[in-house]
Assembly symmetry: C2
Homo-oligomer: 436 residues x 2
């Protein structure tokens, strides 16, 4: 006997969870399509050298191995590098601008922790081939529309601009790009190690710089109305041109978003948002749920100058974001915003004798032809079993077909919620009760 178990850090989704995930993905895909985003698919497996460009911790986490042809291959760890490869490979036939979404699993051999998995689902959407602020505005709109479609109401997309962070670095004497990247990576840990932790790390990296004032600015979060906020931080424009540009681009973005039918609480400025990844160059954002801030960001993204620079000389700027679906599902469950059923059928049909199989199959088919999802219980015997099955799985109605029902071409219908049972109904009357 082999012990049936999944690998550590990997998990099965049972029907209830898989149905909840499917419902969430359907709603998100509906939103993506409403903005004209189209789906693409890339393989789970790529040449290893395609995926080993991004530096940092992630390299140790990549699943890589030699395939049957001795090629070095790797399982994708995100959907951004595959997108970069995809765009460079197909851009001539795709036509630019190009707006894609991709829902897929990625793999990271991280240390196993509660709620963190080594295979998880990402839901990415990117707008490639344009510098226009309309794209930035659209990605924010999609995030907000997507979360609203899931009945989430209290959340904010926290927006920052890399030019603001770069401008601040310049102002405080950090000029080398490498130093800025180091600083961004430390800032990115604010949520994990806190203000004091960040200060300690920064002092260790750059002992000559006093980061108190710097961190004071970084800790600026919009609490008031957008216009008032931009007034409050307007003096920063005088620090340098980079900072000024960053702030002005944020102002333009907010002007666009405020003109739309969107709750202004859903998008706010937060100067501490850094995003660790190297490729971001413009706006960056994270999204938190007000009731579950400890969960961290459920959707993060930003603008990048040139996604495919390792693959192509063509300049391909873009902006995009990624929803961490597993985390989002945890949140929706905690907020009781997911349906909790283990069956896709509303009606369970039960019969009492093999000689009723034909009639039972016909009744089930009739319900289905009337757009009522219907399951036929395959076993005969005591009624206790199918009824407890229906209770366990969540069928709304049980149809019982005994000798008398079959002879009269009728059926007995029990409403599992109210407990009401009606005997010897015609099919049409039963259908009317189910559809009521």
């Amino acid at each position: 006997m082999i012990t049936p178990k999944t690998l550590s850090g990997f998990k099965d989704r049972l029907p209830k969870e898989a149905m909840a995930k499917g419902a969430v993905l359907d709603k998100l895909a509906h939103v993506f399509k409403s903005f004209g985003f189209v789906p693409i698919e890339t393989p789970h497996l790529e040449y290893a050298h395609i995926l080993t460009q991004e530096q940092g911790e992630i390299q140790k986490e990549i699943y890589r191995f030699k395939d049957h042809g001795k090629r070095e291959v790797a399982l994708r760890f995100d959907q951004t590098l595959p997108l970069a490869r995809f765009i460079a490979q197909h851009h001539s036939s795709l036509g630019l601008p190009f707006k894609r979404y991709a829902i897929g699993n990625v793999f990271r051999g991280e240390r196993a922790q509660k709620g963190r998995y080594r295979e998880f689902t990402q839901c990415d959407f990117d707008f490639i081939g344009s510098h226009s602020i309309l794209c930035d505005s659209e990605i924010i709109q999609v995030i907000i529309a997507g979360l609203r479609a899931l009945d989430l109401e209290e959340f904010s997309v926290w927006i920052n601009h890399r030019k603001i962070l770069n401008g601040l670095c310049q102002h405080f004497g950090l000029h080398a790009q490498e130093d800025t990247h180091t600083l961004l990576r430390v800032i990115d840990k604010l949520g994990k190690i806190g203000h004091e932790g960040v200060l300690l790390e920064l002092n260790a990296h750059f002992p000559k710089i006093d980061f108190k004032e710097f961190l004071g600015i970084i800790n600026t979060k919009q609490e008031e109305d957008s216009l008032e906020f931009f007034k409050r931080v307007d003096h920063l424009k005088s620090y340098n041109a980079t900072l000024k540009e960053g702030l002005e681009e944020l102002e333009s973005l907010f002007a666009l978003l405020l003109a739309l039918d969107i709750n202004p609480d859903h998008f706010k400025v937060d100067f501490s948002i850094a995003r660790g990844l190297g490729y971001y160059t413009g706006m960056v954002y994270e999204t938190t749920l007000n009731q579950l801030t400890s969960l961290g960001s459920v959707c993060s993204g930003g603008r990048y100058d040139n996604l495919s620079k390792s693959f192509s000389t063509q300049n391909l700027p873009g902006v995009g974001a990624s929803i961490g679906l597993d985390r989002l599902l945890v949140a929706l469950e905690e907020l009781e915003l997911v349906e909790s059923k283990s069956t896709s059928a509303r009606v369970l049909v039960v019969c009492m004798h093999p000689s009723h199989f034909v009639y039972a199959s016909q009744v089930a088919q009739n319900f289905r032809q009337s757009e009522v999802n219907t399951e036929l219980y395959p076993e005969i015997g005591k009624l206790k079993k199918p009824f407890s099955y229906a209770n366990q799985k969540g069928h709304e109605f049980v149809v019982v077909l005994g000798e008398e029902e079959v002879q009269k071409e009728s059926l007995t219908l029990k409403n599992m919620t109210t407990g009401l049972q009606v005997n010897h109904l015609s099919f049409l009357k039963a259908l009317a009760m189910v559809k009521e």
Copy 2:
């Protein structure tokens, strides 16, 4: 520069193909749910020993490697062994009978051939935990309903029974289970190597047996009405009890299916259907499209006695089938049954100046709020570009917003199919034309 390319045997799906696949999966999932099947998900990666039970060619094709924790792991090559592991692991919380569907990618390091990929999508549905013929009937119904939902009209599920094949083996002097398996694997190649090829191979394996009459029976295919067919082959029941049982079970199945509202051309008997896999014990079937028989089977399956026997002492019989989605998509494209668009948006909104960005964003949002998928072209400049973009991608309407439109809060609408352009419409009039 890195050359952007996928691994040999792996491929990207561009939007047109990914959208067609998505539409097909939505329709199939709708059918699965109508019968009460529920989705589950298992990881792409499993302990290697879980996947290395099935014998044969497939073993050489498995992608296996050591993970970061030195565990022997493997990418799944089908969704049946993971299902067996899943059921054994979770059956107490699932409740039996259990009907699952699973749509997922599997990996096989086969020799690269045209139209064969090393990563491909399978769409499985199984009914676990019951010996009832209602389950067999249901799986056939699901296959037929699934293909009908894709607008396929001319196809047949070719059904056989392992007991018929086993009974024939007995009759012709092959008694050892091993010999029967060998014979089944050779019979399974009929489509590939033909009658003569099979005869040669069988003679090589079993030189003492005359296979002419045997192959004559194996080549029996239903062409007439079911009742007449069963009369034609009725004499085989006298060969032995196993053959008799197999034929009678097929007769019961056909009696159930013929009583339903299903075209009887969609299910027929074919004694040559063997299915190579060891775990089948009852009915087995393959599905061919009449106009594309050379494509082979698009959906195959059958009944197995005990799916999880390697993992559990509990007896878990079942019946299920698997749709090869990639092959099915090729067929649908050849039969011109897939939509051919590269955009999910019906309307493309174009504006002429950055000062119109707010108005353009509002117009696009208004269309979306009226359930019209709408894309906003992010660049300004000559109209030639967005129009050729709309032509390439397949937008039905282009909305143009110039100085005059913005001032009058109006819009200009061009129908890309008829070429008709109407200037200075109110939003409501434009919406009416789009929804017409």
